[in-house]
Each structure stands twice: as C-alpha cells, then as structure tokens.
Symmetry: C3
Amino acid sequence: MGKKTDMVLSVADMAGTVLFAVEGAMAALRGGLDLFGVMVLSFATALGGGVLRDLLIGAAPPTALRDWRYPAMAFAAGAATFTGHALVGQVPVGLMTTLDAAGLSLFAVAGTEKALNRDIPPFSAVLMGTITGVGGGTLRDIMLAQVPAILRVDVYATAALLGAAVMTAAIRLGVAPRYAALAGGGACFALRMVSVWRHWALPTAMGLPG
Amino acid sequence: MGKKTDMVLSVADMAGTVLFAVEGAMAALRGGLDLFGVMVLSFATALGGGVLRDLLIGAAPPTALRDWRYPAMAFAAGAATFTGHALVGQVPVGLMTTLDAAGLSLFAVAGTEKALNRDIPPFSAVLMGTITGVGGGTLRDIMLAQVPAILRVDVYATAALLGAAVMTAAIRLGVAPRYAALAGGGACFALRMVSVWRHWALPTAMGLPG
Amino acid sequence: MGKKTDMVLSVADMAGTVLFAVEGAMAALRGGLDLFGVMVLSFATALGGGVLRDLLIGAAPPTALRDWRYPAMAFAAGAATFTGHALVGQVPVGLMTTLDAAGLSLFAVAGTEKALNRDIPPFSAVLMGTITGVGGGTLRDIMLAQVPAILRVDVYATAALLGAAVMTAAIRLGVAPRYAALAGGGACFALRMVSVWRHWALPTAMGLPG
C-alpha cells in the first residue's frame, strides 16, 4: 500500500482500538468488575483478536506488545470510560452500532491483510481476518463467564467473515491491496448495518433431540 | 513411518476430525447456538486440541491453518450436522462412543508423535498427546460457559494420558514408531471402552472443608 | 545475576510453583472435580501464567514444557493435596495469604525479568510480569466457569502490576538486576499484605445505566 493509505489505515486502526476498548469497559462495568477488571476487559476486547491472530500465524510477540501505543490507548480508553461511564451511556445506540461496525470492518480487513502478507493460505487468511474482528469480544465474554454473543445471535461474525473473504478473493484476482481492502471493509460494514436495520439473524436449529 | 502407515494415519486423522466436528456441532445445537456458533464449535472441537499443541510446541502456524483440508472438513461436518441433526441424533449411543474412543486414541497418539519429533522431552510429550486428544472438547465446553466435562467425570482424559504414556515409553525403549503408535492407541481405546462398559470413574474427594 | 542469586531465585520459583499448585488443587476439590481435574487445575494455576507469558513473548515451547521438573512439581503438589486436603484445610488463613503473596511477588518479578531479557519494551514487560503472576489463577477460574476473581475483588493483580513496574523502572534507571528484583518483589509483597490487612479494594463504578 502507498504511504498515505498506510497512515489512513493506521489512524483507523487506532480509532477501532479505542472504540472496542470503550465497549469492553462498558461490559466490565455492567458485570460489576472493579477498576482492574475494567482495564483487563478494555485490553482484551480491543487487542485480544489481534493477539490471537498473531499467535496463530506465528508472529509472536504480537503487535499489541511490540508497539506500546496500542495497550496505552486501550488502557486510556478504559480509564476514561470508568470515570465517564455516565456520558458513554448517553451515546445514541445507533451511533455506537455504526462505529462498532466500522471497527469490525477495519479489524477484519487488517487481519486478513496481515495473514496474507505472511503467506497464510487464503482459506486460513479468511479465518484470521474473522478472528481479528471478533476474537476480542469472544475473550471478553469468556472472561465474564458468558457464552460468547457472536455464537448465539446476530449477523456479526458473519459480516467479518464476508469482509475477509471478499478481500482475499480480490487480492487473489489481482486487485490492488488498497482497493481489495476497501471492497472487503465495505462488504463487512454493509452486511452488518443492513442486518441490524432489518433485524436479520442466522438460523438456529429447532426441535432438537436431547 | 513407512508411506503406507502414513496414509493410514492420515485417513484416520481425517476421520477423527470429522467425528469430533460432528460432536462439537451437536453440542452447539443443544446449547441453542446459531449457524455461526455451530461452525465455530465444530472447528474448535475438531481442531482446537491440535492448535493448542502446535502453539505450545512452537509449531505456529498450526497444521489446521496450513492445510486447508482440515478446516474444510470440520466446517463441512458442522454444516452437515446443522442440516441433518435429526439423523445424527439417531446414531446409536454405543456406536458414537466407540467412534469417539477411536478418535481420541488417534489424536493422542498423533499428538505424542508430533511432540517427540520436535524434541519435546518425554514427560511433556505425554502432556502434548493428552492435550491433542482432549483440548478441543475443553475449548468447546469453555465456550459454552461450562466446566469442561473432562475435569468432572469419566475416564476420558486418563485414557488419552495412558495412550500417550505407552507410546512415549515404547519409543524410548526403541520400538518402531508404527508399533509404538499401535500400542499407545490400543491402550487408550481399551481403557476408554472398558471404563464406559464398567462405569468406571475417577475418585473425587468428599467432605471437604469450605 | 550472580550464580547465588540465580539459585535463590530458582528455589523460590519452585516454592511458588508448589504453593500455587496446592491452591489450584484446593479450588478444584471445592468445585467437586475428580482426580484428573485436580491435576489439571494444579498445573494450570501453577504454570499457566508462565506458559501464557512464554507464548506471548515468542518463547515457545514454554519453560514449563522444556524443564520436566516444573510440571512434575505441580502434579506432585496436586496429588498430595488430593490425598491430604484435610491437612491443607487446616493451614491458617494468614499463613496461606502470606505464602501466596510471596509466590505472587516472585512470579511477577521473574516474569518481568524474562520479558526484559528478550527485549520486550518496558510497557509490555510490566504486562508480562503481571500476567505471569495472575495468569494461572485466571485460567483456573475460567476452567471453573467463574468470572476470574482478580477482575472482581481485591488488590491482587494491582500488587503484581506495581511489582513489575517498580522492577522495570529500576532496571531502566540502571539498578543492578538483583536489587531491582528485590525492590519489585518487596513492593508487590508489601502492597498485597497491607491491602489484605486494611481490607483495601479497588473502586467499582456504581449506579450504572443498563
């Protein structure tokens, strides 16, 4: 990617980190955790997906530990949410959903790109993009002793999967990375927003024996 | 191992993957998860043990990400179970138990062999074989917010441990790998089947203070 | 560090491993787990923090798998607790708390040192020290399907964090490693003990919306 795209991506990446950290902190506060718990869930929600991906593709130590700005941002966002949670609670749900969809799209695309750059096969790169997007929220839910939300409800992980798949396919077809990223991120964002708007959900199986 | 043994092992490995994926999908369906949750638990149950082992022995990226056939099989088995769960529910319990014991034996032996091949010390190689066998089911239970079944009931992990120990001991005594694998797998399968048949369980401690 | 300090550290490290293993075994017994579950929680509580740290800093396979004495000690402590839990239950709470604080201090300092030795940046080295101290207990709680205690109550992880931060700062200021370790360990131990004695707890946020 060109230098300009890199900077745009980098800024967007940090914005996503801050947003996911705020969401993790809010979940921790709702669960009655103390200040340390809030900080841990901020970190896990914001950076857990990328850490998992880096461990899986053999890129340890993960970026979140090599570049101090990522944990610093996650912790700052967690601390700000802890002190200002009354304000955060007043952000309109629609705005939070939109920002979250943007963060998800960005993480999915960035994770896919990193996996492809390390010669992970396409099929697995799609998985890595999905994990980058939803891994943090999954860790957060496990730490709160809950069944991860992405396994139960909503078209959320599916949107990340679509974005990662579109980007991977575009790269394989020779599209320039910046356009492939745009296409993948756009597909993820669009599917997520439309599914929230139309109340789409994935099918579950009913009438199971046992 | 000879080429023929390799192919037999490889076919058996894939059979174990499919079976564990079906079991993961059934657990997800019983837990009321949606289609995405079913796919995730199929993947985690079938391949989670091997992924954990590969991360621990320093073999990242794990085989499950380098060879697309493994995730493809796990997802195919998950999707088939999602659509055909009524049929799967009709498979006799005895047959499922036998197939599961076979899968467990195979994973335990394959995991031990891989660890030994990477010069992991014998004591740890036994642990790696056990984790390969039971790690997937443990991840599945954690994602369902349950205490992992292997920690609570049954002679299950113990069978994997026995198989891994027998194989490691045989290799150390100079037995050819193919016979060591047969001995280890046979020991695991036998202990598992006998303990199901005789309703054996591990001891728990009673009358605890606090 | 000099050879003598190394040996002192090594002995202390093993003492911490045994103590944490006993605590893990007691938690498993209270949770009604069987013998295998007791062994797994002994291992996870005693060595899980170090394993997580080693995976994160790119030092796989982790020490706990390369040096058979660590798992052997954890399993021996677990087995001893299983058979002698009535005795362990009679150890005065104050003594257990003091020993636990000593183990926490030691793990935090040892984890920080290992991260710094592998050129992990200071900010992340502090995180690694904290994870080494509290990661095992967190894994144990997750396996018991509970919200990790460190996220909810007490000045516990905070003490580990302080110890890791003091040690990192001292090293950066040019203090010799052995004195930096003493300062960090002392700070962790002191904060933990004082907070137990004075019933300190971290703040939680009250009156949350939603």
